[in-house]
Amino acid sequence: MILLREERELTFKDESKHTYHPFLVRDKVTALSIIFSYEPGNYGGDDCVERIVGAYLKVGRDIDLEDAKKSLPVNNLLTLSLDGPKGMIGNAHRHKLEQKIYISEQKAEYGFNPVPILPGLYRVCISSHCIASPRLKYKLLVESIE
């Protein structure tokens, strides 16, 4: 059963934010399946060069524009965490553009603890660590497995 389906488009203004998507599990189920994807994975536009120079300056280093361009493309990075009725279940901090996350009492995807999927309020959190491209789209699908 589909418990949550979201599609969002983010811009640079959404960087360094945590976006929460709550959903309800009404009855105890065997597992949750989460499919999360985002695109584009990286961005190589020249408008990013100023940000790269700024990043170097913040740590006390000079870099000229030509050398800064060598850092292109830079990666967008969105990560996913999951909270359940008893607290945080886990976190997927990885540079993967599509992730399939399975969580049950017996086993869970890397980054997550195996827990029983009890009735209650859950929430997926998408953390936008870096949005380098002018637009970034993500898709989220959460299903219960009986």
Partner: protein
Amino acid sequence: MKYLPIELHTHTLHSDGSFSPNDLVSRVKKVGLSGFSLTDHNTSSGCSETGTAAQKEGLIFLPGIEWTTFYGHMTVIGGKFDPDYRQINPFTIESRIRLAKESGDLTFLAHPFRVGTPVCTGCSDQFAIQDFSSLTGYEIWSGEFPGTSESNKNAVKSYFNILEKGYKLAAVYGRDWHRDTKEDAIFAATYVATEKENTEGVIQGLKLRNTYVSTGVKAFFFLKSIEGKNYYLGESVPPGKYVLVCEIEKDKKCYSCYEVIPKTISLVGNSLGQEITSNISYGGFAKTIEIGEGFLAIKISGLINDIFSDILISSPFFVGY
């Protein structure tokens, strides 16, 4: 007391590393480290399995996590305090570090001068910590060929600035080990003084700040007072006249494949009127010095695989406080 080479900053598939827990354990054993901490980004889900694998191989294991925030990264070792990383920001970081310390965990500011977003997301220190009194240590070295990196030179300067303000922090290295690297890559280790060669012993050594970071060299340092009392790295020492005793040797087990030739030893810190530099080679070294209030740290430089580099930097002696 024995100094053990420990890796304090590693990742597995539980976050963005390429290693399974067993893979990581085999890599740690292969390079000759005595132990390591697992510090996956914002999760400790891998610690139980990794700890079991480490124990089977006779390695010391320290459960940990890396708070990976938009404002910087912090490795937290001990496994007792597990805050919501999403609530960690420049306004809350000091309270979280304090709570970690109260729980018995150790906190280390990770790669503070690495270039940050968008090159390495959140990597540079933007926490703007004002009060360092609860922080255990500072990653003065991070990553590959640490003794030559510009980021690390800036981190060392910043560390010394913090020490000059009167704070006591351990100097540590974090490889930030995510995946295999090319064969000729050069790394370091954090050498931690231990009375017991186990998790508890290493944690105690880190708490006492009796550490140095080094590529391929084992060392032993102490200050001997006129009365014959010995003081070790990380200890409070009264101002006065001392003989600084250093014994250095090639580490034949940990990262032993590098050709390391020490050339100079520098005594640095505001406890001295000015930096003192002498020639050095493997073996013993002793120097009579007069130290005033402040900190005194040791730096050894020389050649690593024919490239000039810092080889070792110690946590300091804290003189007069």
